[in-house]
């Protein structure tokens, strides 16, 4: 059991346990906090894979941005401390059967397939490479998707302002 494996087990245990708590907690603000823990330990997995820039994006944008947005909307739309009503038993059982069957099928398929076990030792990706790839238009360049995603973000921003704006009537 190497240190990496121990770290991986800690991160994945946090991910699985807090994911379950996120979808079962009856207090909605606590569910959002548990989601924050899941996203932070996902960033830990990215750090383990040496994608430092991606882990930083995950921490700032997901854990910092989206969770705060969700918490604000919770505060705007529901009473703090109110408990969500429990789902019906039959609904719970059917959803559990669907999720468990899908998970069992996928995990069985993953375990059947022999992924190559060669050890890939590569250095960490430098910010330099990421910046060059993000702005170049040649092979392995991502200038066009970068522009498209910025237009998408602008459209989403304008759209959400227009939708959430108070109407006069």
């Amino acid at each position: 059991m190497t240190n990496n494996q121990i770290m991986f087990f800690i991160f994945s245990a946090v991910i699985v346990i807090f994911s379950i708590l996120t979808v079962t907690s009856r207090r909605i603000l606590r569910a959002a906090t548990f989601l924050l823990f899941v996203l932070v330990s996902t960033a830990g997995l990215y750090f383990m894979l040496r994608f430092n820039f991606l882990a930083a994006i995950q921490l700032t944008l997901y854990a910092g941005g989206i969770v705060v947005l969700i918490i604000f909307s919770i505060l705007l739309t529901s009473q703090v401390g109110a408990k969500l009503e429990l789902p019906g038993l039959s609904k719970k059982i059917y959803a559990l059967i669907a999720a468990a069957a899908g998970a069992a099928l996928c995990i069985w398929t993953i375990l059947q397939y022999n992924f190559p076990r060669t050890s890939i030792e590569s250095g960490r990706t430098s910010i330099d490479d990421i910046g060059k790839a993000l702005t170049s238009t040649g092979k392995y360049g991502y200038a066009l998707p970068f522009e498209v995603i910025s237009i998408l973000l602008l459209a989403a921003m304008i759209g959400s302002i227009v939708i959430a704006k108070k109407r006069k009537d």
Binding site: V16, I57, A98, A99, I130
Partner: protein
């Protein structure tokens, strides 16, 4: 594989997270908790992309850029969804999915 951690473990973690998200999406009634389950699903897909990028092309960054774009799309989706939820809350005063058929006309 990645300094001692096999790829399978990453994939199994992502699978469990994905199907927990599916369970939450099916069970929850409140729209914001459904949105949180959706974030779980998107996040598990990101783990898969990054792990396969490290396995197949460690010298290129294709999976990483795909993940960055998925995160941006998730941010856009969350902002629009929350705007719609707030608008629904103004009209109906609660945000359970059962009441959404009142938006039909």
């Amino acid at each position: 594989m990645f300094e001692g951690v096999p790829l399978n473990w990453f994939l199994i973690t992502a699978t469990l997270m994905f199907f927990i998200g599916i369970y939450g999406f099916l069970v929850r009634k409140n729209l914001i908790t459904m949105l949180m389950s959706l974030e779980l699903i998107l996040n598990s897909v990101n783990i898969n992309f990054v792990a396969f990028n490290k396995l197949l092309y460690p010298q290129h960054l294709e999976g990483m850029f795909f993940t960055v774009f998925i995160i941006a799309v998730a941010a856009a989706e969350a902002s629009v969804a929350i705007a719609i939820i707030i608008n629904i809350y103004r009209r109906l005063v609660n945000i359970d999915v059962e009441n959404m058929n009142e938006m039909k006309n």
